[in-house]
Structures are given as structure tokens and as C-alpha cells.
Symmetry: D2
Subunit: 177 residues, 4 copies
């Protein structure tokens, strides 16, 4: 049901996501560093600070927060062993054929169009930067968080690709309306 009086807690949701990330050692700078690694050859004028600022902007998008917060909550509950069987064991083991982490990540990557998707896949397989660190940590459930990081990177890359593409709208003759 569409409950129009509900006040959507965007700000609170953002703070939740950031605090969950911090708990696992994921900072905006570490996410920015992966974007830098992937995009620097295409956009050499942008600094690490610029990329980190873009990460923060993407984390302002409600749909990004929705998907990521849900995944981080599931990781947290799995960490505590509180998920119903058999989902607990599936998530705890990061079973390869449980694709819900990929599904949530894809929804995030798609927000800036399908061009972000291939970056997400690459990061996930190549285990770059903090994604690799998360993957190697034992005794803690990181099933959703690594895909969340990859998805944010992919979203930022997609956003930047669109923003920096030269366009015929840059010229005077544009009659785009």
C-alpha cells in the first residue's frame, strides 16, 4: 500500500549503512580507492578525494541505501547466528548458488544504467582492495557486504561515465526539449 503520510528515514538509513560499513572496516575512502583504481586511466584529472566524494553522493540515493541496508542487516543477523535455518547456514557459508547478494547488488549497479554492471562483476571476481580484504576475513559473515561495496563502485563508475561523456548537448545548437 502506498502510505503517503509515512516519513521516509533517508537520513537515518544512511547513518545505519555507514555505521555497519565502519563496523566491518569499510570506509568511504576505501571504496573511493577502488573507483580510482578502475577509473583513473579514463578520468586522470580526478583525485582520490573526488572519487570518495562521488561515493558519498551515490550513498545518498534512496534505492542504493534500501538494498545495501537490507543486505548489511542480513550479514549482521547471520554474524549472530540469528537467521532461521536453513538460511543461516546458506548465508554464513556464502554459498555460491545463493544469488540474493548478487541480486541486491545488481539493483544498486543498475541505478546508473546497465553500464555499471560489468564493473560490479569484475570487482567481484578480481577481489580488488577492500573487497578482497572482506573476502579473506574468517569468523565473520561478509556475504552481502562485499557485493554491496562492488555495487557502489559500479554505480559510481556508471555515474561518472555518463557525466563525463562528451555530448552534442554541449554545443550551442542543441534543441533538446
Amino acid at each position: 500500500m502506498r502510505t503517503s503520510k509515512y516519513i521516509y528515514p533517508d537520513n537515518e538509513l544512511y547513518l545505519y549503512v555507514v555505521s555497519q560499513f565502519i563496523n566491518k572496516g569499510v570506509t568511504k575512502e576505501k571504496i573511493g580507492a577502488i573507483v580510482y583504481e578502475l577509473e583513473h586511466e579514463y578520468l586522470p584529472d580526478l583525485t582520490l578525494e573526488d572519487y570518495t566524494a562521488e561515493v558519498v553522493k551515490v550513498l545518498h540515493k534512496r534505492e542504493v541505501l534500501n538494498n545495501i541496508a537490507t543486505g548489511l542487516y542480513l550479514d549482521k543477523m547471520a554474524d549472530k547466528g540469528l537467521i532461521d535455518a536453513p538460511l543461516q547456514s546458506i548465508i554464513e557459508n556464502d554459498a555460491g548458488v545463493y544469488g540474493v547478494d548478487e541480486t541486491l547488488a545488481t539493483a544498486v549497479a543498475n541505478i546508473y544504467g546497465s553500464i555499471g554492471l560489468t564493473n560490479y562483476g569484475f570487482i567481484d571476481k578480481a577481489k580488488i582492495g577492500v573487497v578482497g580484504d572482506l573476502d579473506n576475513k574468517h569468523g565473520v559473515v561478509n556475504t552481502f557486504i562485499d557485493d554491496a561495496v562492488g555495487a557502489i563502485v559500479a554505480a559510481v563508475a556508471g555515474k561518472l561515465a555518463h557525466a563525463t561523456a562528451k555530448s552534442d548537448l554541449d554545443t550551442k545548437e542543441a534543441v533538446f526539449d
Copy 2:
């Protein structure tokens, strides 16, 4: 990580999904009845029993179970008020701009191709059968379960559309290889 020794609990996951459905009054027959309503004009020879049997088959697919079980677990935790703020209030209120329920449902509907997707959307808006019942129930969180039902119906419809389409492979000359 791809942990090849892990034994995937398909059977246990199926039993979990079915038991969560039963707890909310959702039976395979009620899901089959929605498929019947949508598909009977195209496939008049199939009975309600046939449609219900197809629902059970689709619920054997691992990716279907993964997405649905995750959503039903979130509904159950929200029912108990156990989800971290602010996700608890978002899911409890079935906030219209929280799209994770749609994301999980779409992943299910997509398994039989994009043709199932439009059925899912229609069911969701038209609130047919048990989907409408779930939507009207107060005092209980049904944020994910109604989309899950719609997605199963869409998946079955997609599967049947593909299975019953006449094909040039039905003829002797087919050299499909």
C-alpha cells in the same frame, strides 16, 4: 567464496518457504488459482490442479527459493519488531519507495525470461486473489510475501508460455543442434 563441499539445503529451504506461506494462509492452491485466472483464456485445457502442480514445480527451483525465503524471513522478523531501525519501520509500513521486495520478486519472475515480468506487475497492482487478501490484512507485516506470490505466478505463466508455444522444433525437419 565458492565452497564446493557445502551441501545446499534445497529440501529444507523448500519446507521453510512452504511453512512460512502456510502461516500466512497462502497455499499452493491459492497461488494456482491466480495462475488459472490469468492463463485460462490462453490455455483452456489446463485444470486448476494442473496449474497448482506447476506452482509446486516452480517452487523446486533453487533461485526461486533463495529469493522468496529471504523475503519471508524479513517479513517474519518485522512481524516481531526485531529488525534494526530504521529498516523495521520501513518494512513494517510497506513504504512505497522501498523497492527491495520488488527487486527480489523480479529476480524470481526473470528466471523464466522477461515475459513473466509484466504478469508480476499486473498482479501486484490489480491485487488478485490471495495477493489482495494479504494486502488488506492489518496488524501483520506482508511486505515481501505478496510480491513473492505475484512472482511465483509470473514465473509459472512465463514457464507455461514457453512450454506451450508451438515451435518449428515440433516438426520432423528440425536440425537444432
Copy 3:
């Protein structure tokens, strides 16, 4: 390959899409009218002109244009009988199990998040307004165009739902950063 020197023809692409729409009798006002029909109960203060203006804004998004232009080109070639066999007959017949039109439409609807998707599905089945007109026209191929219209409506509805949701960011205390 990422060819950074290429000037993306956003403006020209927009003009192409609009001209193809006009050729088939689809105007921005007719698309706006469907949005009005779906959204008026939720957003009673917006006029038909407001909805139409939103349609134009959504048609400024590059990813929206990319998907729609590709589909409209395929419709046009199919109209002329110029598509390679057997794709020509598949598209010409708007075969139900050819899901590429739905795939392109879904990519458009997804740009404003998964909440737009269910609207697209509803429009596609309920054949509202100009979507119904397109569906009933004989002797002309409208396989992609009706889904394109439904997708634009869904995208606008998703955009408006996000834009008009009350948010805790509207209050002074917001520390969203």
C-alpha cells in the same frame, strides 16, 4: 572499448525518438495522460501539464533514449520487412515468447528503481490509453513501441514516487552526509 573522444548524440537521439513516436501517433501528452490516470489519486495536485512535463524530463535521460531508440528502430525495420529471417516474423507477429521488448522496457523502468516495474507490468496488461490503441492497430508493427510507452510511464511514476515521498531529510536535524 571506451572511446572518450566520441561526442554522444543525446540531442539527435532525443529528436529521433520523438519523431518515431509522432509517426505512430504517440505524443508526450498521450503518455502524460496515462501517468495522470495512474498517479492522480496519489498526487491530486499535479495537472496533466505537470505529468507531461515529467515525461519530457524522463525522455532526457540517455539510458532511456538508448533503449527506446533501439526498439523503435527495430519496429521500423520490421514495418518495412527488412529484418533478417526469422527475426522478421517473430517481431512482426509480436510473438508472446519473444521477450526482448520487455527486456528493453525493464531497463528503462529500472532507472528510477524497482518500484516503477510493477506499473510497467500493469500498463502492459491493462492496455491503458495509447498503449491500447497501439495494440489494436493492424498492418503496422508495434512490438517495441507499446512497451516503450509503458516503460516511460513507469519511469515517471517511479521518479514522482521518490520525489514526493516525505523524508526525514526535510527536517532541520538532517545530518545526511
Copy 4:
């Protein structure tokens, strides 16, 4: 419209896809070789012939054929310079912000669930095997075909991951129904 009398040309569509692949030097063995490279460490018992046989099986799926045939037709028309402006220049230049090739590929990869998606992204960026060959060829439009190959590999990998996962259904006690 759902035209139930239409005979879907699955066989003819398969032959079209295979012939377009052959024209560009893409054989089932070359696609199988990429799957081998990605999957051999997980599934060491399978031979190159086994992987190639799986490629052929995946190419039997109607939704796979639909998406790939559409993309290969667009490549072919772009090769001849016959696509309407400005789509012709966009596709000819394989512009990075035109995401329709990724959209079609994603639809293919999704058919075996979201787990295939990350493989597709990896192949696309790492340019493995024949995907790299296609990317380096000049004077010919390979905008859709490289994504198509990546998507098929991803689909096969997803299919194999699901098929080879150990399951509690393998045991006697399974009551999956």
C-alpha cells in the same frame, strides 16, 4: 498480443545465431574454451568437450536465442551502415554509455540466476579469449557480439554451478514436494 497459432522458429533462430557467430569467427569451441578457463579450477573433471556441449545446450534456450539474435542483427546492420542516425554512429563506435548491449547480455546471463552475472562482468572487462579478439578487430562492428559471448559463458557457468552443487536432495531423506 498473444498469438497462439504462431509457430515459433526456434530451430531457424538457432541456425541464424550460429551462422552469424561463424561469420565473425566465433565457434562453440572458442566459447567453451572461455568457460573452461573460468570453471576448470572448480570442476576439474570436465573436459573442453563437456564445456562446449554445455554451450550448445544453453544456445537451445529460446530466451538466450532471442536476445542474442537481436544483438547480432544490429551488429550486422551497423556493419553495413544501415542503421538510422544517430544509432548508427553510437553502435558503430561501441560508445561506452550506450548500455543496450549490456542489457541484452544481462537478460541472457540472468536465465540461470544472478550468479552468472558476475562472470559476465569479469569476462567483459578482462577480455578473455575470443572476447578479446573481437574487441581488437578493426573495421567491423562487434558491439553486441562480445557481450553475447560473455553472456553465454556466464549462463553456462551459472547452469554448471547450480547443477554441480551438492544438495540435501541427494540424500534418501529428501521429501521435496
